[in-house]
């Protein structure tokens, strides 16, 4: 299992990570080695085996939809790098 640089760039784009050329090459090698190791899973016959979504018994965790106060706006905004009019300020999404 050897990843190409193009594949690494594609994954970084999906993950929204800006990588330096050195990082790309390093991750190409390291991820290839890890995926090579993980390839041993392919040898196991898992036909008829259900995937484990949760280790806990399935159960309902629904509750009544009752309105209740959330966190104060100031508390929620205190960690944002840019705010305006009690909102998060972001760069334009549409041109």
């Amino acid at each position: 299992m050897t990843l190409t640089l193009t594949e690494v760039e594609h994954i970084a784009e999906l993950a929204r990570l800006k990588l330096t050329p050195a990082e790309k090459e390093l991750y190409r090698q390291q991820l290839s080695a890890i995926l090579e190791y993980a390839a041993r899973l392919q040898k196991l016959d898992t036909s008829g085996i259900p995937p484990t979504a949760s280790v806990l018994p399935p159960r309902s965790v629904l509750r009544e939809d009752e309105p209740r106060p959330g966190l104060p706006v100031e508390d929620v905004l205190q960690n944002a790098s840019q705010t305006e009019n009690q909102q998060f300020r972001v760069p334009p999404v549409l041109e």
């Binding site: 899973l41 995937p51 806990l56 929620v76």
Partner: protein, 492 residues
């Protein structure tokens, strides 16, 4: 008294209740030990000294008032505690060992921490961790590594290395950690202390910054099984703020009875004694199993045939979950933002600059495992093999009450030893991962030392929601041995 920081939690609470010393004196003793050793060990990211002193003072006032009118006091009133810096404590920054959250102030407190605060603890500070709990050595912290109190050239284990080292160095009697693939048990083993990873769903994850949500659990460290059981019993129990929290009664754990383990069935899986493991780890654990037998337990071999697949399963599932969980760090609502003209560019730059190497590696790995064309072969297959691993445990627990294994193949390794080889680092987790994948509880505690003077740890695993059996067995062992009483030279 000058050595209050050497007391266990049970001893400290007894002294407080008898009026032998105050919480302020106890807290000051811990702070003094931290002042003396912290420059060398670097166990904390953020210290909360002023807050600790005022909490201690308030605890003493509460106790004095209770003494006057004969009312009961909260069970942990005035007891110092350190908290891993990945659990939210309102008003104290929570960095998760990451540069991206350097100035993050959580607006609420984790349920596990809140329950301990309600029980009266004094918080000494937030301890060092691998960034977002991703690591086995606490070398992946953006705030610098933590040093093992037994040998500063070695790592304390990880990711809860700060908490484990602080407890071992007698800076605090108890501390909180979290365990996604061994992050409580492995550092407990490397530092010679006792640590619990509870059953998945046993302790609320509310306020625990998410890494691998189907695996994450909140645990605790102490120097005795008794101390850890005390913290566990207060943190455990249903919480409506965590949808995976189970509404299962928490048993009272009474550990004061006789040390006999008569009737306890201990299973030893041969898959956990692999070639290449340190001989002193193997012999230490086997001797500890014999000690359990000497206490009345019966020992038999069990099989966990899919053990060898736990590592690749974990290192696909956990990164996959991490890649989704860490998508929230985009620089908009919290965290450091790298500015750019276009929205996408803000994301790329913020995340590229804010995350450390291991976090980026796992996000990349997880993204790949979930990506179109590879999902079935990697993530899907890993989730199926996870079922096989879980069934191994279910089958084993039909014939035994606990499973005894080493915690890690070696004692603490040297800092930098695995820095350039992530796969070699991941292999340190080979004996702790299956427990998280199956969701069962695991307890680590010291059972010896190697020739270099580094602690050897044993792991006991039990069926879902049977932490009480693990505590009982470890407590019985600690009543007849004194490995857990050894103190690192620098902490004496």
């Amino acid at each position: 008294m000058t050595d209050l920081h050497q007391l266990t939690a049970i001893e400290a609470l007894e002294g407080l209740n008898l009026g032998k010393f105050s919480s302020l004196e106890l807290t000051r003793a811990c702070l003094k030990q931290i002042d003396a050793l912290e420059p060398g060990l670097h166990t904390f990211i953020t210290r909360t000294t002023e807050q600790a002193l005022s909490q201690a003072l308030a605890a003493d006032t509460t106790r004095a008032a209770a003494r006057q009118d004969g009312s009961p006091v909260p069970p942990l009133l005035g007891l110092p505690l350190a908290v891993k810096d990945i659990l939210a404590l309102s008003g104290v920054r929570c960095t998760c060992g990451s540069k991206i959250l350097e100035h993050f102030m959580p607006p609420y407190t984790a349920t596990s921490v809140q329950r301990l605060l309600d029980a009266g603890v004094v918080v000494l500070g937030k301890t060092n961790t691998d960034e977002y709990a991703m690591g086995s050595s606490t070398e992946n912290s953006a705030y610098g590594r933590t040093f093992n109190p037994w040998d500063i050239l070695r790592v304390p284990g990880g990711s809860s290395g700060g908490s484990a080292a602080a407890v071992a160095a007698r800076m605090t009697p108890v501390a909180l950690g979290t365990d996604t693939g061994g992050s409580v048990r492995q550092p407990a083993s490397y530092c010679g202390v006792t640590g619990i990873k509870p059953t998945y769903g046993r302790v609320s994850r509310y306020g625990l910054v998410a890494y691998g949500s189907s695996l994450d659990s909140v645990g605790a460290f102490g120097r005795t099984a008794e101390d850890v059981a005390l913290l566990f019993s207060i943190m455990a129990g249903h919480d409506s703020l965590d949808a995976t929290s189970m509404d299962v009664p928490v048993p009272q754990i009474h550990l004061n009875g006789e040390a006999s383990l008569k009737g306890l069935r201990v299973g030893v899986p041969r898959e956990y004694f692999i070639s290449g493991m340190q001989p002193e780890v193997e012999s230490g654990v086997k001797q500890a199993v014999q000690q359990l037998a000497a206490l009345g337990a019966s020992v038999r071999e069990v099989h966990l045939p899919h053990t060898e697949y736990a590592l690749p399963v974990y290192y696909l599932i956990a990164p996959a979950e991490a890649s989704a969980n860490l998508a929230r760090y985009d620089g908009i609502r919290f965290g450091e933002r790298k500015d750019a003209d276009a929205m996408w560019e803000v994301y790329y730059r913020t995340r590229g600059a804010g995350f450390g190497a291991e976090v980026k590696r796992r996000i990349m790995l997880g993204t790949y495992a979930l990506s179109a064309g590879y999902y079935d072969a990697y993530y899907g297959q890993a989730q199926k093999v996870r079922t096989l691993i879980k069934r191994d445990f279910e089958k084993a627990f039909e014939s035994v009450d606990v499973i005894a294994t080493p915690v890690a193949p070696t004692t603490a390794f040297r800092a930098g030893e695995h820095s350039n080889d992530p796969l070699a680092m991941y292999l340190e987790d080979v004996f702790t991962l299956p427990c998280n994948l199956a969701g069962v509880p695991g307890l680590a505690f010291p059972v010896g030392f190697d020739k270099a003077g580094m602690p050897v740890g044993m792991q006991l695993m039990g069926p879902h929601f049977r932490e009480d059996i693990l505590f009982r067995a470890a407590h019985a062992y600690q009543k007849v041995t004194d490995w857990h009483k050894r103190i690192p030279g620098i902490a004496k």
